[in-house]
């Protein structure tokens, strides 16, 4: 199982109180995680990535294993620790504005 950590606003939208566990078939990538996340919680569609282009929203970041993976290809395999569920995949609202 993959562990996804959502920012507080998206936990509210999804109606969850903690981390999200997702069953994601390999290869585990940003795209496959987000596909599974949006399938489980349709209200999150459009909040992390664009509905049509599927591009990450500008002020959203993807972190894992102490790395910023935001600019990696959405189809690049994520670290084994994420795929095995030992490390979470973090969706983060970037620090911006006041």
């Amino acid at each position: 199982m993959i562990t996804v950590v959502l920012p507080a606003h998206l936990r509210t939208i999804a109606g969850v109180s903690g981390d999200v566990q997702l069953d994601v078939p390999p290869p585990v990538t940003q795209r496959s995680i987000l596909d599974a996340l949006e399938a489980r919680y349709p209200a999150l569609q459009g909040t992390v990535r664009d509905h049509v282009t599927k591009q990450r929203r500008a002020f959203v970041r993807f972190f894992a294993c102490q790395e910023d993976l935001s600019h990696e290809s959405p189809d690049a395999p994520l670290p084994d620790a994420v795929a095995s569920g030992t490390e979470p995949f973090l969706i983060v609202g970037a620090i911006a504005g006041g």
Partner: protein, 376 residues
């Protein structure tokens, strides 16, 4: 006894204010959607407990929320606003072509007769509609596809379609307004549109009387007279008595502003007196606060030209807030109530048609919109 429900959208959430018909004591609930921008909330005239809210965020984009119990609980509905066909371009600030990009919903206008049908005015300017209570949205592409669309240019706040007025006597007719393109009308339920800007004069565009390019801030109509429209433009207050085909200036004696007059954002009409209208003059066009630090609503009982300042209960010194375009509304009780919200977080109410005012709340986040429901 009648009740009044005031729906307030702010920079950091929504608030719902309720009172009985005396409108003296208010219950405040909120913030709903804390931390999100609520550009607009509005209730269905056909089912007052059905509310729709536009919730947006620079981080997470657009959400649409729906309530079926007067705002006690909410559920997210579809937030997918996709332009019909190939979007094309409009004009960017520097004059170059710029692709049409959805940014947010500025205004939600529920149908007068069907709680499941709602119109949404969005940035970049387009008109969308749902007929299933928000489960899906479709563009009415004839609006954005108006022949002048490629030449529309955003105002400082963006290319927003901010005003939607449904004609209660003619379901085929809708009025909309866009900053900074102007006002438009459809007479075939949104298939084709006509620019209705004749009579407007805007010195800040190369051709002051151009067909489009005018920075219309807001338009209001009394439901008993759908052919009469009142407009607050970037400068000037105007009226039309032929459904927008021709406008005439009714700025009249509004406060002098270095030789010009009539800047402001809001305009609204008394619930029972179709020739009584309200504006809040704002010093501008860059200062965006009340003249002389005095917050004054101006009322005309003659449909414009002759205006009186209404000051009782409003701050008359050191007041430097703004009142944004969707932040004024009226109730329909016997003595018409008038309401407006400020960027300083106050919501003022007048239970006597503007003669006197008092704040309902005074420390909310900056107010973006105010709507009022009069409940049986």
């Amino acid at each position: 006894m009648s009740k009044v429900r005031v729906l307030v959208g702010t920079r950091k959430g929504a608030f719902i204010l309720e009172s009985d018909g005396k409108r003296q004591k208010w219950d405040v609930s909120g913030p709903h959607f804390a931390g999100w921008e609520l550009y607009h909330l509005k209730g269905s005239p056909a089912d007052p407990n059905r509310l729709y809210a536009s919730q947006s965020s620079g981080w997470f984009g657009q959400m649409i929320q729906r309530s079926s119990d007067g705002g006690k609980t909410w559920e997210p509905v579809d937030n997918k606003f996709v332009y019909d066909g190939v979007p094309g371009t409009h004009k960017w600030y520097d004059g170059t072509p710029h692709p049409w990009e959805f940014k947010r919903v500025w205004h939600l206008e529920p149908s007068l007769t069907d709680p499941e049908t709602v119109y949404a005015g969005v940035e970049d300017a387009a008109l969308f509609r749902t007929v299933d209570g928000g489960k899906s949205w479709q563009e009415l592409p004839g609006m954005r596809g108006h022949g002048t669309g490629s030449g529309w240019q955003p105002g400082a706040g963006g290319l927003g379609l901010h005003t939607i007025i449904l004609d209660p006597k003619n379901p085929q007719r809708i009025f909309i307004a866009i900053s900074a393109a102007g006002a438009f009308r459809t007479d075939d339920a949104g298939v084709t549109w006509k620019a209705i800007n004749q009579g407007l004069r805007s010195e800040y565009i190369p051709d002051p009387t151009a067909e489009v390019g005018h920075c219309v801030h807001h338009v209001a109509m009394h439901p008993s007279r759908p052919n009469t429209l009142f407009m607050q433009k970037h400068w000037d207050v105007l009226r039309s008595d032929n459904a927008g085909d021709l406008w005439k200036d009714v700025t009249g004696n509004l406060p002098d502003d270095d030789g010009k007059r009539g800047f402001g954002f809001v305009i609204d009409v008394h619930a029972h007196e179709p020739e009584t209208i309200y504006v809040v003059p704002i010093k501008s066009d860059s200062q965006h606060f009340p003249h002389e630090g005095k917050l004054r609503v101006y009322r005309s009982k003659t449909g414009g030209n002759e205006w009186e300042p209404l000051t009782k209960g409003l701050p008359q010194q050191d007041c430097y807030v703004n009142v944004l375009r969707d932040a004024m509304a009226v109730d329909s009780l016997d003595s018409c109530g008038v309401y407006f919200g400020t960027t300083g977080g106050q919501v003022y109410a007048s239970p006597d048609a503007g003669d006197s005012w008092a704040p309902i709340v005074r420390d909310l986040p900056a107010v973006l919109s105010v709507e009022v429901q009069t409940l049986a």
